[in-house]
């Protein structure tokens, strides 16, 4: 469903992504692990078109989206839940959702999302800046879903969330899988990654150095941790 090959991205002269390869089947959840600063966010932003890659391909089904402007990538069915959530602070919960609702959603209409996230329904007229971190995260997920995506990119959704809220997030991501949404999940929280991931990638210095189905990863976990993830 989503296939990235040989992605190279620069910030100025900094060669950040050095040939990233990635493949996720339809309805699969891929967890991307990696230490701080290895280029996880840059990978997601390159797929989204927010940082244009200098070379490489980003295949969604049989279209290569590399070089597309972000709005085209979004319209092709890719939704983005960014690091730091990026809620519109002065818009209400409902208006935050409306920005993303370019046409009435078929699979995830507003009413369904408010049912799925009762906390948002209770605070529908509150401004984005008045929400708690967990509520903002749920809003960021809901805002992505209202575009009826086929692929969702999550960038460290568990950051700064209480364990209870992380558990809620796990439930939400399972719901996405049930609906056949393909998920790329960047996470530092190993528990969350293991709870939802079908395949695990580990990124080191701008490349994917490890790829394994979750069952295999669980057998090799300690070795992978000390080799790629330890500080």
């Amino acid at each position: 469903m989503l296939r990235v090959t040989g992605l190279n991205t620069y910030y100025g002269t900094g060669h950040i992504l050095q040939g990233v390869d990635l493949e996720i089947e339809k309805g699969q959840i891929a967890a991307v692990l990696g230490r701080n600063g290895v280029g996880k966010t840059t990978t997601v932003r390159s797929i989204m078109g927010l940082v244009p890659p200098r070379s490489g391909e980003v295949w969604l089904g049989d279209t290569n989206m590399a070089g597309w402007a972000p709005y085209r990538v979004a319209r092709a069915g890719v939704a983005y839940v960014p690091e730091g959530r990026m809620i519109f602070p002065d818009l209400t919960v409902i208006d935050n959702l409306r920005v993303a609702e370019r046409r009435p959603a078929k699979i995830w209409p507003m009413e369904r999302l408010l049912e799925l996230f009762p906390a948002l329904a209770d605070r529908r007229t509150h401004k984005g800046s008045q929400l708690s971190g967990g509520e903002q995260q749920m809003l960021a997920v809901a805002r992505a879903l209202i575009t009826d995506p086929t692929v969702m990119l999550f960038d460290e959704p568990s950051q700064g969330l209480a364990p209870l809220v992380v558990r809620e997030l796990v439930g939400v991501i399972h719901r996405l899988r049930d609906e056949g949404v393909t998920v790329l999940l960047v996470e530092q929280n190993l528990k969350l990654a293991e709870a939802v991931g079908d395949i695990v990638y580990v990124m080191v210095k701008g490349r994917m150095m490890y790829r394994a189905p979750i069952a295999q990863f669980q057998l090799e976990r300690e070795a992978v941790k000390s080799k790629y993830l330890a500080l």
Binding site: M48, A69, Y71, Y80, F88, L91, R98, V99, R102, R143
Partner: protein
């Protein structure tokens, strides 16, 4: 002298002054809110609106047509400028580059106006319904200034409703808070930026035509009034639409009453007002501190 009548006409004068300033300031604040650009060409665009309006009136004899067509023409010029020049600079995130290019536009427009229309001031003849005076408590008051107040009030309400109630308005507010996120949610923000820049230019041009029957169209008209517009935008809070409406009214009152009671220091009063507001609220009345 009838003091109440005097007071009423002075207040109405202040409001009509505020109306003209409002169109200039709202355009400036909208453009700043979306693009974080201070448009130094705004005064020149105001002037261009006045001259284009003058020509349309001369050619067709239709004041009402000029009132609609001239802002559209100037908005079109603004859109082209944004699409072909300004937009090339966004990736640089360099305030200095914006300053140079908008300042450059100001110079080019001023010289173009001088070449096309000459250095002689031009006027605009009003249609009959807008000429003459009405008597308010025995004080004569120009009908045209009442017309300006009406326009100022209706335009403020219309723009406010546009920003608050329509989908386009929602997208404009969202872009002013986080353009990248709006883009990643499927809206082409390049169109939003071009549209808002054009809207801001159109509003300034509208103000320019409206000012012409009062003061004429002349080469320095933009420079004289754009300073007021900057003061308004700072008082109201950079990027805040309602702040600019309130700021326009405050500046209108300070100018009209200042010119009457303290004619020698009318300009200093303006800065005094700005200073007071900034001491109480450093980000402006409805702005955010950054």
């Amino acid at each position: 002298m009838d003091f109440l009548g005097f007071l009423i006409t002075q207040c109405l004068n202040a409001l009509s002054q505020a109306s003209v300033l409002l169109f200039l300031a709202c355009g400036l604040t909208l453009i700043f809110g979306i693009m974080r650009i201070i448009n130094f060409a705004h005064g020149a665009i105001f002037m261009l609106g006045a001259y284009v309006g003058h020509t349309i009136v001369v050619l067709t004899g239709q004041f009402w047509l000029a009132l609609i067509a001239a802002p559209l023409v100037v908005a079109g010029i603004g859109a082209l400028f944004e699409m072909f020049l300004l937009s090339r600079l966004y990736a640089r995130r360099d305030g200095g580059a914006y300053l140079m290019i908008t300042f450059g536009l100001a110079i080019v427009l001023s010289e173009a106006v001088r070449l096309i229309w000459g250095a002689q001031p031009k006027g605009i003849d009003l249609p009959e319904v807008l000429t003459g005076v009405v008597f308010l408590l025995d004080q004569p008051f120009p009908i045209y200034r009442l017309f300006l107040i009406g326009l100022g009030v209706s335009a403020s309400i219309a723009l406010w409703q546009f920003l608050e109630r329509t989908r386009t308005g929602l997208l404009i507010r969202a872009v002013s808070q986080n353009p990248e996120m709006v883009h990643a949610l499927g809206t082409d923000i390049r169109i939003v930026r071009t549209g808002v820049f054009a809207l801001g230019c159109g509003l300034a041009a509208f103000g320019g035509i409206l000012a012409t029957p009062l003061f004429g169209a002349y080469l320095a008209m933009g420079n004289n009034v754009v300073v007021d517009a900057f003061v308004i935008v700072i008082i109201g809070g950079m990027g805040s639409f309602l702040g600019s409406v309130i700021g326009s009214i405050m500046v209108g009152f300070v100018q009209v009453f200042g010119a009457y009671y303290f004619p020698s220091m009318a300009l200093s009063l303006l800065y005094l007002l700005m200073l007071t507001v900034l001491i109480v609220r450093p980000g402006g009345l409805l702005g955010k501190e950054e």
